[in-house]
Amino acid sequence: MVSKDRIKLEVKDLEIRYGSHVALQGATLNIRENEIFGIIGPANSGKTSFLRAINRMDEMTSGMRVKGTLEFNGKDVSQWRNLYALRSRIGVVFPLPVGLPMSVYDNVAFAAKLRGVKGKANLDEVVERCLTRAALWDEVKDRLDSLGSLLSGGQQQRLTIARALSQDPELLLLDEFSIAVDPVTTMRIEEVLKDLKKEMTIVLVTNLVQQARRLADRTALFLAGEVVEVGKTKRLFGGAATDQRTTDYIEGRFG
């Protein structure tokens, strides 16, 4: 069964350093198409650095060095000649919502405009579709011209999800998206994600162990720069983890 699934992201022996500090070492795993891949682990274990390496943000982060292979669609990300083509296929949602300093409409239409989509009708369609899928349309359809930053925190985070969706990404990276969002909104976004995985691959970094349990098909535990274990979420949470540290972390004995 497993071998039939297509691999979206193949990671071999990845190492990420900031100067002499090693953020991630010897990471080997693969992420399959149309799955939600959960990454759990305490702070400072290399989760965010891993996401940054995927869309080559290392180029924009001073002191960050990446070694090893990280293949996206079978091609090493460091071999992508056009960085912007790579990034436009990968949507990113940050821990704290980053509303660009422009209107709700422009936040969502921005990526489409960058790709050369023209005409108000076309842009309108993108904006409505993405906001609807991010479960935000009904709340903001009458105030598309107001500033994105005037929305509530939970709405802003859904706005950034809508913005990420406007790229039509093949891969969606979510970095602790619910950190500044109330539980009700979190649940709504989680429903959206379950729906989205039919169309894209989702990497979900979360510090809520139960969120990984609810959403992820497979889960990896990162610990102090090491990938401790990767496996089916059901197995890891069903008490059948191979590594004792995984069981301990899931059951809340540390971290």
């Binding site: 924009m60 990034r87 990113v92 660009l100 422009m102 921005f110 500033l147």
Partner: protein, 296 residues
């Protein structure tokens, strides 16, 4: 009521000492601030009292007469506007572009650090040295002669560090998270700069330009050998002409001309300050307008 609660409402000796210290330091800093304001107020008051009688409509619209002892300041006023305008045209695009490179593109390496060091040192060079450089480079080597062009380029080089440093600070005040969000949407650096960084730093950049204008209007030494003259009966027609300038004119009427009515130098000084204030308030008004439409 128990003693403990009663004591809770009484200030202990330590509390009283803290409160006394608090008052002492507040008074100290307030005094320093007042001392700082005194010279500004005195200068403005003195100039206004002594210079105001010299001001009239004719003072601003007539040329100086009788070896500068009579008449107005019109050619100097116009000359300074020329100098400021040409200096801005030369330094703002250059300075803003350099600041964008340093802030948005340059990696933190040896070269970047050397450039930064050079900029800081350029800011520390005395204006008379800039004047001699301008004389050697623009007047003599490039054969611009003593002209508005040579004087303005000298002023431009002198004020470049101000523009670069203030623009870079304005750019860096735009949160890094905006850039990250923009990049991860697949935007290039230039798209990010044009759509997000510049629109949100423009008011800060203008602040730097305001500073530059004030400094350019007041500088005397750099234009003395490069383009400004003691007296010209006519207005400059092109950037290759020599010109009178407010700052040099003030220096001349204050120190070089004997038997001058006392009100005249004060009138020139007051006009110079009014001119700076006027130019500044135009830019400030523009900045306020931009800030009103600022988006976060």
């Amino acid at each position: 009521m128990s003693d403990a609660i009663k004591n809770g409402f009484q200030a202990a000796p330590l509390d009283r000492r803290n409160q006394r210290n608090q008052r002492v330091f507040r008074l100290l800093f307030l005094t320093m601030t007042v001392i700082l304001i005194v010279p500004v107020v005195v200068i403005l008051a003195l100039l206004t009292i002594k210079g105001a009688p010299a001001l009239s409509w004719g003072f601003f619209t007539e040329s100086p007469k009788n070896g500068l002892t009579e008449g107005g300041i019109f050619p100097a006023l116009v000359g300074t506007l020329w100098l400021v305008a040409v200096a801005l045209v030369a330094s703002v695009p250059l300075g803003v572009a350099a600041a964008i490179y340093l802030s948005e593109y340059a990696k933190d390496n040896l070269l970047t650090r050397l450039i930064n060091l050079a900029i800081i040192n350029l800011a520390g060079v005395p204006s008379i040295v800039h004047a001699l450089f301008g004389l050697g480079a623009f007047v003599l080597f490039f054969k611009f002669g003593t002209s508005i062009l040579a004087a303005s380029l000298t002023l431009a080089i002198m004020t470049l560090p101000v523009v670069i440093v203030s623009t870079r600070e304005a750019l860096q005040s735009v949160p890094q998270s905006f850039r990250l969000a923009c990049w991860s949407l697949g935007a290039t650096r230039w798209q990010t700069i044009r759509k997000v960084v510049l629109p949100n730093s423009i008011s800060g950049i203008l602040t730097g330009v305001i500073l530059e204008v004030s400094r350019t209007v007041g500088e005397t030494a750099p234009i003395m050998f490069t383009g400004a003259v003691f007296f010209l009966p006519f207005l400059p027609q092109s950037v290759m002409d020599q010109t009178m300038a407010m700052s040099l004119h003030l220096y001349n009427v204050a120190t070089q001309v004997p038997d001058i009515p006392e009100a005249l130098p004060f009138g020139v000084a007051l006009s110079l300050i009014l001119m700076v204030l006027l130019l500044n308030s135009v830019s400030i008004a523009f900045r306020v307008h931009l800030r009103r439409v600022k988006k976060w």
